[in-house]
Symmetry: C4
C-alpha cells in the first residue's frame, strides 16, 4: 500500500544527512544517492525537502529515478494540498529571455533553416543551448559537416519540361513526402514543454518520418500515443549494458508499430562536449567545491550524465542477436569508413547511416558526405549495384538546404537525416516551427529540382554534381601577421561629409 | 466610349469591399484582384481610392495591369482636375537617402566599377537595393562569379610594339566598341526614373550593344524609340506560357530591328532571393498578418511577384518553333554544362551564354568562367574548331575589370555580358554613370592590352593565362577557435604616446 | 678563507665605475662584466650595490655567474643582517596581474590544454609570457605545428568491444602511463617559483617521463633530488663549445640515473624571437640609449642572452665521441628531413625527434607531423621495418589534444613530446596544473581510443587517418578588397526592438 | 643675357590669363602649359606669381620644367631679395604628422623590414604614402608577391659545422656584401629631403649595390657625386620615345662608371594605381571642376603624370641598338614568362629580372618567385646549365626577410632586388634607416644560413626548399555567411570578475 506523506514531513528532510525530494507527486529518499548523481549533489540539495519535478523533467528520461533508486527509497506519494510551491525567482537573464521570446521574428519571416538556429540561440536557456549546440573537442567536425556541402557544386541541366517535379520517396519501405527523415535528438523538453511531441505532430500532418530517440524527454509511449493513424516511425537505439532492457525496449517498439531500428554504433562513450561541460560551472557556483574534490566524473555536462548506461562492449558479434529479437529492418547509425560499410553489408543489415553523430563524438572525423563517396566507390569496386534494393545508405549532419539533400542523393544516398534544424524549429516556435521547416524544404525542393532539370529523385544523377573538391579539406597555412598589419587595403570612393 | 470619373467618386471606393485605383490616369476596379496580387493586398489597399502610379511604375512592366485585369474592370479615365495628390510623407530614411545622393562622390572620383556599386548601395531605396543586389539561397554563386576571375592569373608578354592597341570587335555580326555587351537586368526604374533608357542613350553614344530585358520597366518601344540611328540591340526573352504572346513579342522586336534573340533557359522558376524576400517584411509591417495566413506565395519578394508568367515546360523541343518565328540569330542564355553546350550546338542555334543568371538562380552552380573551360575542352574533343564562325560562346557574371574580360577571351569567349555594374552606374549617376563605366572599360582595356603585349583581341591567346587554379573552389576546413583565441599575433614596432 | 662583507660596504660600489652585486648571499664585482652582460648593463646597474638575487634567479642557470666571472671577482659573502632589502615597488601592471591570479578560473573549469595557455597569458609577467610564447621571425612555423594536426582526419572503426582501452607504453625502455613525454623547456622559474620541480613532482606521481632541459632554472641536481624512487628522466643537451663541460654534464646525469640523452641538433644559434626581443625595450626604457650605441648584440631578448655557449661547430663527426662518453641511448632532437633521419639511423643512434624546436628556430620549417610522413616513407623505401626495435621516431610541436598524439602514432611515431602546454599548466596552477594536464590527456585518450575503435596503441594503425591534406600547406591568394567591401552579407532573421 | 625679374613683377602674373612661377630661382611663363600639365592646372595656379620650388621638387625629375617648356617661356631669374616667402600654413594633419615623427620608435626597436613600412605609413605625407605604397587595380599581385614566399617551406639540414657562414657574393661581376641589390624606386624626395642619396651613402658604406632609377628625384649626377670611391651602381632605364635622349643618358652613365643597364620592359604604359589616383582628389578639392570637364587624363595620379615619355613601341628589335650604344651588361627587367626568358637568352643579353614591377603594372600577374620555377625548368629543358656563367636570373618583389632571399637562391636566382623596404627605411629614418635595414639582413642571413646548414650561398641547394605549394594560388570558395553567423565559437575558460 502506498504511503501518503505531507509536505511538512518532507520538508524536514532537507539536508545532506537526510534528503527527500518530490518528483511527479512521488516522494524519494535520495540521501545515499547524492554522491552518485551524475549531475552533482548540489543541484539535488537545492530541492531537498521540496518538489523537484520542474528541474527534473527536461533533463531526465521519464523513468530515470525509478530505475536508479532502490525500491525501498520510494517512500510514497505526497498529499498535494500540503506542498508549498517553490516560488522560482525570475532571474534577470530569464527576464531577458522572456523578452526575446516576445520579440521573436514572426514565423513568416523565417526564410531558411539557419533562421531557426538564430532564434533558438536567443530564446533557449543557456543550458539548453549549450546541450543542443555543443559538439566534441574543437568542434571541427560539426562545422566540416556543413562546409562539406559547399565543396560540392552543381551541374544543372536546361530545357527540360519541369512543370511538374516530385520529391517524394519511400524510406525503408515507408512513404515520405520528403527525401529527409527527422533524425533522433535527445532531451526535447529542454527546448519546449511539449518536447518531441512537436516533431510527432508536425511529422504526422505532413507525411514525414520521425526517428524516436532513446534519450527523448518524452517517453516512447507518449510519442506513439500522439501519432496520427499509420504514422510511420523509426527507433534510434543506444544499446544498454543490460541486454534484457534493450530487448524489451526494441520488442515493445516493434509491437507498437515502429518500422525500423537504427542502432547507434559510434557512441561506446559520449564525446567531450566542452560547451556543455562549461555550463556545469555557470549558474551553479560549484566551482570551488568541485575544484577541491577534483571529481572529474561530476563535471561532464548533461550529455555524459544521462548516458552512462550505454554499453561499450557492443560489437559485430551482437548483430545476430539483434536480428533474432526483431523483424524490423536494422540500420547501423554511425558508420564512418568504407571498410565498416562493407562489413555492415556482409552482416546482413538493411542499411547504414554515414554519420559522425552531428559532430558530437570523435572530432576531426570526416563528414558523412565525404564518406559517402568513399563508400559508394568501395561498393561498386565490390560489384554491389547501387542503389541496392536490399541495402540503403543514409547520411546525416550539416544539412541546411534542400540543395544539400539533392547533392547527397546525387552522390548515392537514399535519404538524409536532419536533426538539429528541427530541434531548433520547435525550440523557437513549437509545432508550427517544425511545420514551417518542412514547408521550407518543400519550397526549396521544388525550386532546386526545377533549376537542376530533374523531375524526380531518380533524375538526380551523379553527373549533376562536381564533387572534385569534396575531399580537399585543407586548412590554411598561417598568415603573415606583420605583412597583414602593414598592408593598407584599397578603399571604395568616399562620400563627402556623410556617414553611410 | 471612355467614361470620365471624378477623384471624389473614386475616393468612395477605398476599402477591401470596393477598391478602385488610378494608374497613369486610368481607373481600375481591383477589388477581386486584391487576393491574387503577387505583391500582397496590403500595398494596393494603401492606394485604395487614390492615384497609385508612383508606386506602380518602377515595379511593373508597363502593361501589367491591362494584361492581368479583365476589360470590364477598366472603368475609365480620371478627370485630373479632381484628383487630390497623395502627399507622400518623407520618412527619416528617405531624408537620409536624399542627403546621401547630395553627398555622392563626384563622378570623376569613381575609379572602377566597384565604386558604382558602393554608391548605388547608399543612394538606392532599400527595396531597390535588395532587388538588384540579391542572389539565391546563400549567395555562394554570386560571389564565386567574382572570385573565379581571381583564380586565373596572367602570363604577360614583353617587348612588343603596343603603341596602338584595339579592343573593338563584332558581336553576332554587330560592331561593338568593346568586347562587352550590356546584359539584361530588370526593373531599371527602381534605380533611376529614366530606367533602362540610361543604358540605351549611353550605349548609342559609345557604340556598345544593349540587351533589352523582358522585365525592363521601360517598355520595349520606349527603348527602341530612344535609340540612335542604326543602334544595335539584342533581346532577352523569358518565354511565356502563352506562346502567342511570345511570338508577337519576338516578331515585333525583329521588325523594329533587334539583331539577336537571347532566350533565357535557366529560369523555369525564379530563385529564392532572400535579401529580396526579407524586404517584403520591412516597411510593410505585414508580418503578423502574413504569419496568420501562412500564405507563402505572397512572401516571395519582387522577383517572383513579377515572373509568374514564365513557362516551366520550355524544352529542347521548342527550339525549332523559335527558329520558325524569327530569322534573328538565337542564343541560349544560361547554359551551365558541356553536355548542354553541345546539345545547343547540335540544335543549330547561333550561340550560348555560359551564365548562372548572376547567381540569382541555382546556388552553388559554377561560374561561367569555369564552365567555359569545360565547354571549350568538350568542343575541341568533338572536333569543333574554336572560335567557330557559326557559333559563339559568351559568358557573364562577376565581371568588374577589363582584365576579367581579357581572361574570358583568352579562354575562348567571344564577348562578355556585364549587367549589374551598368545598372549600378545609372542608379548612382544616370546616363553619365553608364558613360563613365564604358570609359573605365576603355581605359582598362588600353592599359591591360599593352601590359599583356596584345595589340588586338586575336592576340589574346590561351597561353596568356594560367587557369590551373580555376576549378579549385575549395572551402577551408574549420579552424581551431581555441588555438586562434589563445595565440597572440605579432605586433609591429609601437609609437610612443601617439595614436596612429 | 671567505671574506664577510657588510651591506654598507657593498652599497658604496653602486656605479658604473665600481659595481658590486649580491646573488644568493655572495658578493661579486661585476664592473668589468657590465659591457659583456648579454642582457645589457642597465639591468645590472639597477641592482648595483644591492641584492640582485630575485631578478637573477628565474633567468639564469644556477651557476651562470660563477662560470662567467673570474674567481678574483668573487669577493666573499654578505653579512645578511646588514643588507637593506630592496623594496620592490608594486607597479600598476603587477597589481593587475595579482588580481588576475586571484581571479583565475578554478582548476576544475580547465577543460583542455588551450585553457592553460589562456590563463598563463593573463597571469605571467609580460617578460615571461614573451619568452615562453615567442617563436622565430613571423611565427609561421609555430602555428603550422598546430594546424598540421587539423589537416589529418580520422577514419574511426565501429563495433569493437572497447570496454577496456589502454594507452600506456614504454619509451626508450621506460614505462610511461601516456604515449607522451614532457619535453624540455627553459627557464621554468619565470613562470612559477618552483620552476621545473612542478613537472618533476607531477610526472613522478603519474608515471610520466620528464626531459630535463640544459637551460632549466632549477639545477639538474635539484630536479633529481625531487624525484620519486625510480622515476625515469631524459636529458636534453645543448652541446657546449667546451666539450669537457658537456662530458662532465652528461656523465653526471647518467650516474644519477637519467635514461636517455636527447642532443639538440637544430640550434647552432638560437632563432630571432621578436616578441621576446621587443620585451627588451618595454619596462626597460633603454630604447634611447641602445639606439645611440646600435649594439645589436644587446637587443636579442632573453633567449639569445642565455645561450651564447652553444657550439655551432657541432657536426656528425661528433657522434662517435658522444657514444664514447655515455651508455645512455642517444636521440637527435631537431631532425627535419628524411635525409638527416637516414643519416641518424646510419650513425647508430637510438632515435630522432622530428622537431622544429617549437617553431623557435628556422621559421617556415615544416611541422614534425609532416616530416614524419616523409621520414617513414623514406625508411620503408630503404627497407627498414617500422616500428623498429632499435630506432625510435618521436615528434614534438603543436600538440594540444590526445587526438593529436593518436594521429602521430597512426603515422608512425613511437611517442610525442609536449612542452609548452605543461609549462603553461604550472605557470597557471603549479604542480596541480601539471597533474590536471595529465588527467586531461588520460580522459581524452580513453574517449578517443574508444571512439576510434582501438583498444591498445598497437591498434592505432595508419588506416585510421586520412593524411592526404597534410602536405597541402597552402596560403590563400590575396582577396578582392573592393569586392569584399561592396558585398553585403546575408543576415539572419531579425528580432523586433530587442538586442541579442 | 639673363633677365633679372623682381618678385613684385612676377606677382602680377598670378592668374589663368598670365601665370608665371619661380622654380629654383628661375622664372617661367606657364600660361600656355596650364592645360597640358599632367598634374592638372589647379596645383600650378596655387603658386601663380610665387615660388613653387618646394612643391615642384619632390615630384619632378630635376630637368622636367626645362625640358617641357619652350625656351622662350624661360623668362629669367628672380631677384631673391624681392620674393615674398610663401608662408605655408601648417595643417592639422601636418601637425599630427610632425608629432608622429617625434614619436617614432627608436631605431633600435625596429626588428624587421615590416617595421619600416609601419613607421613610414605614419610619418609620410598622404600623397607620398599613396604614391609609394600603391599598386595596380585590385592590388592582388603586390600581395601575392609577399604571400608566394610563404608557400615555400624550408628543409633544413643539421649537424654541419656552421661556425662560419658567408653570404657575400658577386652580382654581374661586382662584389656585394649581400645577395641583395637595392632596386630602383622613383621620387625619393617625397619620403625624405635627401631622397635617393640616403641609399647611396648607406650602400657605399656597407658594400651594397644601388640601382639608380630613371625617375629618381635626385639627378643621376648628384647620386654619382655622393658615391664612395669605386662604389658600384646599376642603372634602371625607362626608354624614351626620343632615342637620342636615351642614348645620351646611357652613355653618360657608362662613362661615370655604372656597371650594368637594367632596361624596364614591363611598362609600355604605367599601371592604374588607384590609391595614388584617389590622392588627386584629396586636399585638392578639384573634384567638382574635374567632374565637369571629364578630363580623365588629368586624374591619373603622380605615377602617370611623370611617365608620359616612356616609349610603348619598345620591342625585341631594339635590343641590338642597345648593345651598340653600350658595353655595360644588359639586363631586361620585367620578364614574366619562360617564353620571354628564353627569348632574352637568345637575344644575347646578360640577364633578366623576373618581376612584376612591385605589383604596380599588370594586376594578377604572377610573382617573380613563381615565374622563377617556370623559367629554370624551361632553361633546363633547353639544355642550358644553371647557374649560367653568362646569364643571370634575378627576381624582385615581396621580399621582407633574408629567408625569402635564401628561398629564391635555392630555386635558382643569382640575387634578389629589394625596393620598397629600403625606400620605407629612409622615409622613416634617413640614411640610418637604410643602414639598419642592411644590418637586419645581415643578422637574418647569419642566423638562417646556420639554421639551414649552409655555410655559403653555393650550399643553398634546391633540396633545401619544398616549393610544391608555390603554384597553388587558390582563392577560397565563398563561405556560408548564415552558418557563420549562427555558429557560436568555442570560448576559453573565463576569469571571474576580471577583465583580461
Amino acid at each position: 500500500m502506498v504511503q501518503i506523506l505531507s509536505g511538512q514531513t518532507i520538508q524536514e528532510h532537507a539536508s545532506r544527512n537526510s534528503c527527500w525530494i518530490i518528483v511527479h507527486g512521488k516522494v524519494y529518499d535520495v540521501t545515499d544517492f547524492l554522491d552518485e548523481h551524475p549531475g552533482g549533489s548540489k543541484i539535488i540539495l537545492k530541492y531537498a525537502g521540496k518538489d523537484a519535478t520542474e528541474a527534473y523533467e527536461p533533463i531526465h528520461p521519464p523513468d530515470a529515478i525509478t530505475t536508479h533508486l532502490p525500491v525501498e527509497k520510494h517512500l510514497g506519494v505526497v498529499d498535494p494540498e500540503t506542498v508549498v510551491k517553490v516560488v522560482k525567482e525570475v532571474t534577470e537573464e530569464e527576464r531577458r529571455r522572456q523578452a526575446l521570446i516576445d520579440a521573436r521574428p514572426p514565423l513568416a519571416e523565417v526564410l531558411n533553416l539557419h533562421d531557426f538556429e538564430a532564434v533558438a540561440k536567443a530564446v533557449l536557456t543557456d543550458k539548453a543551448w549549450a546541450y543542443y549546440s555543443s559538439a566534441s573537442d574543437d568542434e571541427i567536425t560539426i562545422r566540416e559537416n556543413r562546409l562539406a556541402y559547399q565543396r560540392v557544386w552543381f551541374r544543372p541541366r536546361i530545357l527540360r519540361d519541369v512543370s511538374k517535379v516530385d520529391w517524394s520517396t519511400t524510406i525503408l519501405g515507408q512513404n515520405s513526402s520528403l527525401p529527409v527523415y527527422i533524425s533522433a535528438t535527445a532531451l526535447g523538453k529542454l527546448g519546449h514543454p511539449d518536447g518531441e511531441l512537436n516533431l510527432t505532430r508536425a511529422a504526422g500532418k505532413h507525411g514525414v518520418i520521425q526517428m524516436i530517440a532513446t534519450l527523448a524527454s518524452c517517453s516512447f509511449d507518449e510519442i506513439m500515443d500522439a501519432a496520427a493513424p499509420n504514422q510511420p516511425f523509426f527507433l534510434q537505439l543506444y544499446v544498454n549494458g543490460d541486454r534484457e532492457i534493450t530487448r524489451r525496449y526494441v520488442q515493445h517498439a516493434e509491437k507498437r508499430g515502429v518500422k525500423a531500428l537504427f542502432i547507434t554504433v559510434d557512441a561506446p562513450q559520449l564525446g567531450r562536449r566542452e560547451k556543455d561541460m562549461r555550463m556545469k560551472f555557470v549558474g551553479d557556483d560549484a566551482g570551488a567545491e568541485v575544484q577541491r574534490g577534483q571529481d572529474v566524473k561530476k563535471n561532464e555536462g548533461v550529455a555524459r550524465a544521462i548516458s552512462s548506461f550505454i554499453d561499450p562492449t557492443l560489437s559485430w558479434k551482437d548483430i545476430p542477436w539483434f536480428k533474432s529479437i526483431t523483424k524490423m529492418p536494422i540500420v547501423l547509425k554511425g558508420v564512418a569508413t568504407a571498410e565498416d560499410a562493407l562489413m555492415a553489408y556482409d552482416a546482413g543489415v538493411q542499411g547504414i547511416v554515414l554519420s559522425n553523430h552531428g559532430g558530437r563524438q570523435l572530432d576531426t572525423a570526416r563528414s558523412g558526405l565525404e564518406v559517402l563517396v568513399e563508400v559508394t566507390t568501395a561498393f561498386r569496386a565490390r560489384g554491389v549495384r547501387l542503389p541496392s534494393p536490399t541495402f540503403d545508405i543514409f547520411i546525416d549532419g550539416g544539412v541546411r538546404r534542400a540543395s544539400d539533400v539533392l547533392k547527397a542523393i546525387a552522390l548515392g544516398a537514399s535519404a538524409v537525416g536532419v536533426g538539429r534544424p528541427f530541434l531548433y524549429a520547435f525550440s523557437a516556435y513549437g509545432q508550427e516551427g517544425v511545420e514551417k521547416a518542412i514547408q521550407i524544404f518543400r519550397d526549396e525542393f521544388e525550386m532546386n529540382m526545377r533549376l537542376l532539370g530533374a523531375r524526380t529523385l531518380e533524375e538526380i544523377v551523379p553527373e549533376m554534381v562536381d564533387a572534385s573538391a569534396l575531399r580537399s579539406h585543407y586548412g590554411l597555412a598561417p598568415d603573415d601577421k606583420l605583412f597583414a598589419s602593414a598592408y593598407q587595403p584599397l578603399a571604395l570612393a568616399q562620400f563627402k561629409n556623410a556617414k553611410l
